[in-house]
Symmetry: C2
Subunit: 218 residues, 2 copies
């Protein structure tokens, strides 16, 4: 069975964090799973020059840009059906907090993209596990409320998860938080300083925990 | 010591192939090396919508887009100094044949970006190894001529390498071609049908061969 991987664009500052996204796909494949990549068909909040950090005067589409990581093999998130997948996974990157929800701008008062919220709720209702890396746990906490997650050890973000009704656990690289009641797996990734090998380790730990929760059906 | 990794943008159809780029960085890091990412500061030949394959009416810069894969830690290729690095590595993607040289349009009669050509020649002159993945061996053959390389088993591209003065060896995933005289390491990657795990295997095989050629100094 397949995992559904949701990307928020292509690039850490305005989209999906590329190393986390690629290492998630790799962890699924090397552990015997398969994947379908999805993204919401919406405009990016903005486009950031990744050298200067400045906003560029152009507009890009989240689905179109995420297709770069997917090598074109991607579907709009409206096509996601929880019954067709063993797990739903969100790699991180600022795009999660800018394009999938507005946490980067509004904090705990953020809004969540309607299609993203539906995907999370449908997966949760179906009793299937959800993985969330890096900053993505704020999205899960905003939608589901009473969940136990990690974003590593950043105090401000951890406090916000509390304000959203969730519980936060501090974690280091290689450690995941598994909420067995709600079937949520979270890992720090680039929310902590990281080498790319640490990203590979975190994503594989998360994918293996998801596989276990899904009854090895991933 | 460090490897220099040259990216041709961000996305298989008009830039660097993202999986190959990320897996190259991972292979270097996990095997104890370190890296600095470079890209030429030039306009992309064009921008391709990775869902439809069609040209988009916009322009992007190779260095600025490659910075997405590099998380901002990137230098213009004009700053590359062969004496500061143990090896030079080119991941693949159409960007190599569109932005670093014009092979995608002109075949063996292609032109090579001047700064890219200088980087290859300086590394070769310094007696340091060069790695080239996927389609990148055509770039090396165009600049250095009499080299032995693999692009997998595509007959048309293999014939073009002969026209450029090089020799081609057919290779499968996990196999590399090592030209010990010229210190060139090449591997097929996405020039063959591939899973992302096969890309990880090819890039690691290439990086390990480069480490051996460089006297473990990578």
């Amino acid at each position: 069975m397949k995992a559904a991987v949701v990307l928020a664009g292509c690039g850490v500052m305005d989209g999906a964090e590329i190393h986390e996204a690629v290492m998630t796909l790799y962890a699924i494949d090397k552990n015997g799973g398969s994947y379908q990549i999805f993204a919401p068909n919406v405009a990016q909040h903005h486009v950031i020059n990744h050298i200067t950090g400045e906003v560029m005067k152009e507009s890009r589409n989240v689905l179109t840009e995420a297709a770069r990581i997917a090598r074109g093999k991607i579907k709009a998130l409206t096509e996601y059906r929880a019954e067709e997948f063993a797990a739903l996974i969100f790699p991180g990157g600022f795009g999660v907090a800018k394009n999938l929800c507005t946490y980067a701008f509004d904090g705990p008062d953020c809004h969540v993209d309607r299609v993203v919220e539906q995907a999370i709720r449908a997966t949760h209702r179906a009793g299937k596990p959800i993985g969330a890396l890096c900053i993505s746990p704020v999205l899960i906490a905003k939608v589901l409320g009473d969940v136990t997650v990690t974003i590593g050890s950043d105090k401000g973000t951890a406090a916000d998860i509390g304000r959203l009704g969730g519980k936060h656990e501090n974690r280091q690289h290689g450690e995941v938080t598994v909420d067995r009641k709600n079937l949520i797996v979270t890992a720090p990734c680039y929310m902590l300083n990281a080498t790319i090998s640490e990203i590979a380790r975190d994503t594989e730990a998360a994918v293996k925990a998801l596989m276990e929760l899904s009854g090895k059906k991933l």
